[in-house]
């Protein structure tokens, strides 16, 4: 099992799927000649040519719609939106065309597109390049939403998303493209539904996804070493649908839940996980679940303010200690 970077894992999935099926294409801004802002398609323009590695004009809604239209006829487009902030411009085609066409055609037409995009606060990119949008996508019937927290997931989720017959939105992260991790040497298809227990624990469950899995893991180490608290970490790599059984199972074991999300709390992943806990295993709880979330501010430019606007491992530790001490 080789250790590769997150971007290399995404690139490898592109390469394998494009080599296998001539109808798999990739499209997006600067992904071809320039090799991609995050190198996800590096070198593939030379290998597959301009018909299949397509540098699009800066027309997010219509090039997304173009990919959806091509998918009606069997093409399998992997569409890169350079920043999830730009996905707002493509919401019409994602929401009104890709997610609804199977239903409103009575099952005749499907839009098996993959839309990849990085969200998240990175390094002083300002309010219009730092948003988290997963909460918007996960409430859309007909759309799958996954979010890889490591290179293995980045590779395996993209492989499965390309082959799945549903439209899949893959929420990546600006800060994670250079993260290293082990990826199977052979072909690997990650399930598009479910969750993963990243760390076993007995005292509290920390639910994270994407980058907040890493904050949760750091917090769990601190809690174990400094406070003797064994936290379980659950990676919610599938945001739509959320893994009800996995959430129930972990809370039934630890009886406490903290949801860690980089996004703002309202109408978000944490709110949804809390609702699921209420519905599935309310009487298992020893404490009221809490969310560790971003502040309700447009992301500031100033570095100190920027860092203060989103949670970190310390915030998670503090939330757990407060919950367990009851103070």
């Amino acid at each position: 099992m080789a250790e590769i970077m997150y971007w290399e894992a995404i690139r490898r999935a592109h390469d394998e799927e494009m080599a296998r099926d001539p109808l798999v294409i990739a499209m997006g801004e600067d992904i071809g000649v320039a090799g991609g802002t995050y190198k996800a398609t590096k070198g593939l323009y030379d290998k597959y040519g301009p018909q299949r590695i397509i540098d699009t004009p800066i027309s997010e809604n219509s090039f997304t719609g173009l990919g959806i239209g091509a998918s009606f006829l069997g093409v399998r487009p992997i569409i890169e939106l350079m920043s999830v902030n730009f996905a707002w411009l493509a919401m019409d085609q994602i929401f009104n065309s890709a997610a609804k066409v199977r239903y409103m055609s009575g099952g005749q037409l499907t839009a098996p597109v993959v839309i990849r995009s990085p969200g998240g606060t990175a390094h002083q990119l300002g309010a219009q390049h730092s948003a988290r949008m997963e909460k918007v996508f996960m409430g859309i019937a007909g759309l799958r939403v996954v979010t890889p927290s490591n290179p293995k997931q980045a590779y395996g989720l993209l492989k499965s998303a390309v082959r799945c017959n549903d439209p899949v939105f893959i929420n990546e992260h600006e800060l994670m493209y250079n993260m290293k991790g082990e990826v199977p040497d052979g072909e690997y298809f990650h399930p598009l539904e479910g969750s993963e227990v990243t760390r076993q624990g007995r005292d509290v469950t920390l639910f994270g996804y994407n980058i907040s899995v890493h904050w949760s893991m750091q917090a769990a180490e601190i809690l174990a070493k400094q406070h003797g608290i064994e936290a379980e970490v659950v990676d919610l790599y599938s945001l739509a649908p959320l893994d009800r059984a996995g959430i129930r199972e972990s809370v039934s074991k630890t009886h406490r839940a903290v949801i860690v999300e980089e996004a703002e709390a309202p109408v978000g992943v944490g709110a949804e996980v809390m609702a699921i806990i209420n519905e599935e295993c309310f009487f298992e709880l020893d404490a009221a679940p809490v969310r560790v979330s971003a502040k309700m501010v447009p992301t500031p430019f100033n570095h100190t303010l920027e860092k203060a606007s989103i949670p970190n491992a310390k915030d998670v530790v503090a939330a757990v200690l407060k919950m367990i001490s009851g103070k």
Binding site: P57, N61, S62, A70, P191
Partner: protein, 330 residues
């Protein structure tokens, strides 16, 4: 079109007129719900263009005024009426409705209800055709008001940059819902706007099917021969309001009457009578046959079809048992 073709398209246009008028009645009787956008006045557009193209072979996509486009592509009118009646036997299984007629078997790729939404989908289908190397073309029918959406500009640009086999048909009926084109649009000749993207374009009379056919033939041949996209503007008029909830009060009686004198069905009928191909009696007999077919076959089929089952409410949201949801098959 030879004389036999012309007689057939006369019948198709008359059928389209009577079909839509019957939809109007069914709506008033509350047998059809939701929004209903009708086609009377514009029949020569869809029927003339598709006569020049290859229905069932070329991929067609349009907006919400879509019943006749589907029927011309080969969709059974009974399945369209059943869809309007929201039945399981409808072409979209009662899940789509008037604005979302689909018939993939006949390559009618759907009616969409976001104005301008089909532009990029049509260009995407053309991209797929280009990749697969087929001789089909992608045909996108929309109204003049759709050209004020960003998707018009973005999509025409991409179609031109990549030389894609897509034919844009603009049915210019002079109004975007209730707003006259000149009140919303700086350049009211829509074909001129396609020139911004270096796309070959033309404008013709949309009420005379012979002219529609001739212009569409040139356009279809151009696109099919690999010369890239083409934009054809057809000047037309819808007799009724935008939808059933629109009385059309923003138009003068004189204007409506003037356009009524250029009715596409009457123009072709009188031309065929003058040429000695049919008599007025032939036409009246044809009308009676159409009326009987609608009343005796199409309406009863829709009315007597079952509604979708509530137990199947969530069917068609996602693929069923897709193996990759669980991590694939080995």
């Amino acid at each position: 079109m030879n004389a036999a073709d012309k007689k057939r398209v006369l019948r198709e246009m008359l059928f389209a007129r009577r079909f839509e008028e019957r939809c109007y009645e069914a709506y008033v009787e509350r047998k059809i719900g939701g929004f209903l956008h009708l086609y009377p006045g514009q029949e020569a557009c869809a029927i003339g263009v598709m006569e020049a193209a290859r229905p069932g072979h070329d991929y067609v996509i349009t907006g919400y005024r879509d019943h006749i486009h589907a029927i011309k592509c080969g969709t059974d009118p009974k399945a369209v009426m059943a869809e309007l009646f929201a039945r399981e036997t409808g072409c979209s299984k009662g899940r789509g409705g008037s604005m979302h007629i689909f018939d993939v078997e006949h390559r009618f790729m759907g009616g969409y209800a976001l104005v301008g939404g089909p532009f990029p989908l049509a260009v995407g289908m053309a991209k797929a055709i280009q990749m697969k190397g087929g001789d089909e073309i992608s045909i996108c029918f929309l109204g003049d008001a759709a050209n004020n959406q960003g998707t018009f500009h973005e999509s025409l640009n991409m179609a031109a940059v990549w030389n894609l086999p897509v034919l844009f048909i603009c049915e210019n009926n002079l109004y975007g819902i209730g707003t006259a084109t000149h009140r919303s649009t700086a350049v009211t000749d829509q074909y001129k706007r396609a020139c911004s993207y270096g796309i070959t374009s033309n404008q013709t009379d949309g009420q005379d099917i012979d002219q529609v056919y001739a212009a569409a033939k040139v356009a279809v041949d151009f696109v099919r021969s690999g010369q890239g996209p083409y934009f054809l503007e057809l000047m037309t008029y819808r007799y009724r309001g935008h939808s059933m909830s629109d009385s059309g009060a923003y138009r003068t009686k004189d204007e409506v009457e003037e356009w009524g004198k250029r009715d596409p069905i009457i123009i072709l009928r009188d031309r065929l009578i003058a040429a000695g191909e049919i008599t007025l009696e032939d036409y009246q007999a044809m009308d009676k046959e159409i009326f009987a077919a609608i009343e005796n076959e199409i309406i009863p089929y829709a009315e007597n079809s079952p509604e979708p089952k509530v137990e199947e409410l969530e069917k068609y949201v996602l693929a069923e048992n897709d193996p990759y949801v669980k991590g694939g098959v080995r």
